[in-house]
């Protein structure tokens, strides 16, 4: 166990009693692990649905606003590459004024939520074999 410099204190503490964990230890760990995994998956899928709906809704509102305000046509005009090359500052200014940034921020946040939700929903969840040996044995 300790190849080098084993002394009497080491030998004495080698006799320190090792206690087995409770008999249901493995079952408890598996149950708690599976319960937490289930909860994470429920939260993950719920968040995924909510964030996708939010992203779609916010994108729809952005589209509506751009269309009804006539900004969509203007956006198509200013996204012309030649114009962009000739007057980049003006194009940028027009973009700042036309795009509803608060809604774009909502879409961005929703997409971040999608990533988080996917990670939660796909977090590890194994099916433990019931016949596997108990941890205490």
């Amino acid at each position: 166990m300790y190849p080098d410099d084993v002394d009497d204190v080491d030998r004495l503490f080698a006799r320190l009693e090792r206690v087995d964990p409770p008999a249901d230890f493995r079952a408890q760990v598996v149950a708690r692990t599976e319960h937490r995994a289930r909860r994470r998956h429920i939260v993950g899928y719920g968040l995924l649905i909510a964030s996708v709906l939010l992203a779609v809704f916010a994108s729809f509102i952005i589209g509506q606003q751009l269309r009804t305000s006539g900004a969509l046509a203007l956006l198509a005009f200013i996204s012309d590459l030649e114009l962009l090359a000739e007057a980049p500052a003006e194009v940028a200014l027009a973009l700042v004024e036309l795009v509803p940034w608060h809604l774009a921020a909502v879409v961005g946040a929703a997409l971040v939520m999608v990533v988080v939700a996917v990670r939660l929903a796909l977090s590890p969840s194994f099916h433990f074999e019931s016949e596997a040996g108990d941890a205490s044995t």
Binding site: M1, D7, D8, V9, D10, R11, L12, F13, A14, R15, L16, E17, R18, V19, D20, P21, P22, F25, R26, Q28, V29, R32, T33, R36, S123, P124, F126, H127, F128, E129, A132, G133, A135, S136, T137
Partner: protein, 189 residues
């Protein structure tokens, strides 16, 4: 090949790949030593059970994301130690100041006593109680080092990794702790 005979690294790799039996094998391999470690740190079987369960739950949830080269054993003991600290903070069963006490607060140890412990000590009926009490006299950091060494059978390099200290510091702490233990054990004879 049976999971039980695979090395830690292989079990960890299989676990990362989604093999639940690999996790079961790790549970079987380390539950006893982690349980004994938490039991000696916390002193209460129910708390130790809880801390050990939490350690393996965290292992299940976090280890797949850990660095592929990360060594499992010191990592498990590090998690177990942190779970014990969390439990103590939550339940306040032990004053936190005791847990946070630094080695500098420990009484200065006389130069190492070269004489052997009396043989009768080995035969004492209350040996387990004496050993438990001896460990309890140690400052927290030393107690962790001693338990990782004697209960977990970790190498000094692994102890260093678990406690975030150089290997030589772990060795020094262990030697100082042994000197304290020797003094205490001699008094108990």
């Amino acid at each position: 090949m049976e999971h039980g005979s695979l090395p830690d690294e292989e079990l960890a790799r299989r676990f990362r790949d989604g093999d639940a039996l690999a996790f079961d094998a790790l549970l079987n391999r380390y539950s006893r030593s982690i349980y004994n470690f938490t039991l000696r740190l916390l002193g209460d079987p129910a708390d130790a059970d809880d801390a050990t369960q939490q350690t393996f739950i965290q292992a299940f949830e976090s280890f797949p994301a850990a660095r592929p080269g990360a060594s499992l054993r010191p990592w498990l003991f590090q998690v177990a130690r942190n779970k014990c600290i969390d439990l103590i903070r939550k339940r306040r069963t032990v004053p936190l100041s005791t847990f946070d006490r630094e080695e500098a607060d420990a009484p200065q140890i006389e130069p190492i006593d070269p004489t052997s412990l009396p043989a009768e000590l080995y035969e004492r009926e209350e040996l387990q109680e004496i050993l438990r009490d001896a460990i309890a006299t140690l400052p927290q950091r030393s107690r962790e080092v001693v338990l990782m060494r004697y209960v977990g059978e970790l190498t000094f390099a692994e102890i260093g990794r678990s406690l975030g200290m150089p290997e030589n510091t772990a060795k020094t702490l262990f030697q100082r702790a042994k000197a304290t233990l020797r003094v205490y054990l001699r008094k108990r004879v």
